[in-house]
């Protein structure tokens, strides 16, 4: 007769063994994780797109932060900086892998940068649950200051609604300013930018709206023809990158440039896009958080310094990250005690007003940077085509 082995004790034994081993397991099972950087260094994780379609923006962001560090002896708040730069890639998958590495492996004290919205959205949960402060240096996703607000995520860049909000206030003042057509790329940044405009600009003066498939539209003619047919005398548009170039050029080619006034949210004619657009961009007005000629002491030094280091004018992307450096500098200098994730986050909450290249900056209750917006116009100057600042716009109204 075969002896039947009872299998009951075996699983229980295995479980007991596993639980015992858990107690001496590594950090993935609850053990203590490696300590962060030492007392007088602050470890900063810089996450930017170095490859892929938005790598030009990522490069500007990297330049901006690194210039600030260079100008300040590689120190923030008096502490030595250990900078870890990771390639965010072109999508949220590679981006969240970079964030995970910065937070879990490199054990950085603070994360800065993040080029695209989806990476910021993916990163938000990581920052929140690991209690790592993160200062966003480019994206303005509305939810990060709203439904998905976190005590640890700071939007040092902007809120997508701010440029349109400011511009809308200004344009609403001109009672006989004509009818508007609004158009943007069909993704969250496009929708949110137009939402900002519609929040302060009277709806009865907006006679048409269109969203073009994001990233795949290179031919705007059907939309431009609709704008022409609508009889609108003004357009508010939101495009970035190659879509911005295509839209600007085609706006001119389809005869709208002379007849319809074009306003945009600051990225339509920025940096190398303006070079590509050439004269077709003349006369376009942008509502932007940064321009090379805005008048403040920090910017007066920043622009020549940037030109010397990188050979061209700084863009809104580089200036924003330069300012993030300034914000962190002031925050770390005000840290009580040891530099750690908690102390940096607490210091950010009390950082007050920071003088940046963009002007005076401060965080509101939603951890979004409050800043001025400027109206610029593309003009021909002795140095070539430039966005020239015309005036400072009313501050964006936040909805709390």
């Amino acid at each position: 007769m075969a002896v039947r082995q009872s299998s009951k004790p075996l699983p229980i034994l295995a479980l007991g063994l596993a639980l015992t081993l858990t107690a001496c397991g590594g950090e993935s099972l609850g053990g203590t994780s490696a300590a962060g950087a030492g007392d007088d260094t602050v470890k900063v994780g810089l996450i930017v797109a170095q490859s892929g379609v938005v790598s030009a923006v990522g490069r500007d962001m990297e330049n901006g932060l690194k210039l600030y560090l260079k100008e300040h002896g590689d120190k923030l708040g008096g502490k030595k900086v250990e900078l870890v730069t990771l390639d965010e890639g072109a999508n949220a998958q590679t981006g969240s892998a970079a964030v995970t590495r910065a937070v879990q492996q490199e054990q950085v004290d603070v994360v800065v940068g993040v080029t695209i919205g989806p990476t910021a959205m993916a990163g938000r949960d990581i920052f929140d649950s690991t209690k790592t402060p993160a200062v966003m240096g480019n994206t303005g996703a509305v939810e990060l200051g709203g439904k998905l607000k976190s005590d640890w995520v700071w939007r040092g860049s902007y809120d997508n609604r701010q440029p349109g909000n400011s511009l809308g206030q200004k344009l609403a003042e001109a009672k006989d300013g004509g009818k508007f057509y609004v158009i943007a790329a069909d993704y969250s940044s496009g929708h949110e930018t137009l939402d900002g405009f519609k929040a302060t600009f009277p709806a009865d003066r907006i006679i048409g709206e269109a969203f073009t498939p994001y990233g795949t539209t290179t031919d705007f003619s059907p939309y431009l023809q609709q704008i022409r047919a609508s009889g609108a005398t003004n357009v508010f548009a939101f495009y970035t990158g190659s879509e911005a170039i295509a839209f600007t050029k085609q706006f001119h080619q389809f005869g709208l440039a002379g007849k319809v006034k074009l306003y945009s949210a600051g990225f339509l004619n920025e940096g190398s896009a303006l070079e590509a657009e050439g004269d077709t961009a003349l006369g376009i007005m942008n509502s932007t958080r940064y321009n090379w000629d805005i008048d403040n002491p920090v910017n007066a030094a920043f622009v020549p310094s940037y030109q010397k280091a990188y050979g061209g004018l700084p863009t809104v992307y580089s200036a924003t990250m330069y300012d993030v450096g300034a914000i962190l500098d002031k925050a770390v200098s005000q840290v009580q005690g040891e530099v750690s994730r908690e102390s940096i986050n607490a210091a950010l909450a009390k950082v007050g007003t920071v003088s940046g290249a963009r002007g005076e900056l401060s965080f509101d209750a939603g951890r979004t940077v409050q800043q001025d917006f400027y109206l610029t116009e593309v003009k021909k100057t002795p140095e070539g085509l430039r966005n020239v600042t015309v005036e400072t716009l009313p501050k964006p109204k936040s909805d709390g």
Binding site: F211, T216, T218, S221, L256, G278, D279
Partner: protein, 292 residues
Amino acid sequence: MPVGSLLLNGIASGLLLFMMAVGLTIVFGLLDVLNLAHGAFFLSGAYLGYRFAGEATASWGSFTLALLAAIVVGALMGGALMLLTRPLVGRGHLDQALLTLGLSLVVTELLLEIFGRNDHAVAAPTGLDGSVEIFGGAYPVYRLAVIAVGAVVAIVVWYALERTSAGALIRATVADREMVEAIGIDVRKVTTVTFMLASALALVAGVLSGPIKGATAGLGNEILLLALAVIVIGGMGSVIGTLIGSLLIGIVQNLGAVLLPQFSSFLLFGAMVLVIVFRPQGLFPTAAAVER
């Protein structure tokens, strides 16, 4: 609704699509090489356009130089690709896909290294960079030129393939390789030259599209998908099929953007599915195409 201008633009985009896709229909449809580097080839042409013709204004000389450079570089790239695929003979589409996808990643990255990561535009030659009044509104002259050039390219390629003895040779090689070898013709030479010409065509399309599409990092992938969809819908290996397919897609996309904005993105691939299910050989197949 400005139907007239929508149709005109549909034809212009259609012919632009045709020029992008015709190189691939010859390579994939006739030579049966799944060249996933087609988009990268196109992009190389666009960057050559940027380098020689510039962003602001281009003289006829510089634009022609860009076209010549595209032909030469394209032929070289095609020849190089043929050499690289030689060891893979008999190993089928997936290995070709593997090689050409790898090459497309390498080529795209090299282009970004050489020309930088900024998005670039390509200028149209002076004289073609203005606009004319058509259907009650301005229309860029360059797009009219694209219609003309696209039509010429279509006629030339079709004629070369269908009416010349060289074309007959190519079609014969596709249809019955052994027989052609038996006549004493070096089949490898025929295939290589055809591949080189088709690659040159892809780069030339890149230059010609430059003033409309520019030279930007994401363009390669976008063009590859578009070209694959176009040649499947039109009929792989068929020049006429690719032409009519491109025109149809161009017009439908332009009308769709206005009539069905929510669904316009689905139109192209939805059409691709319908064609493969109900008429897999394409809308206007050719007898010359490889049997699948």
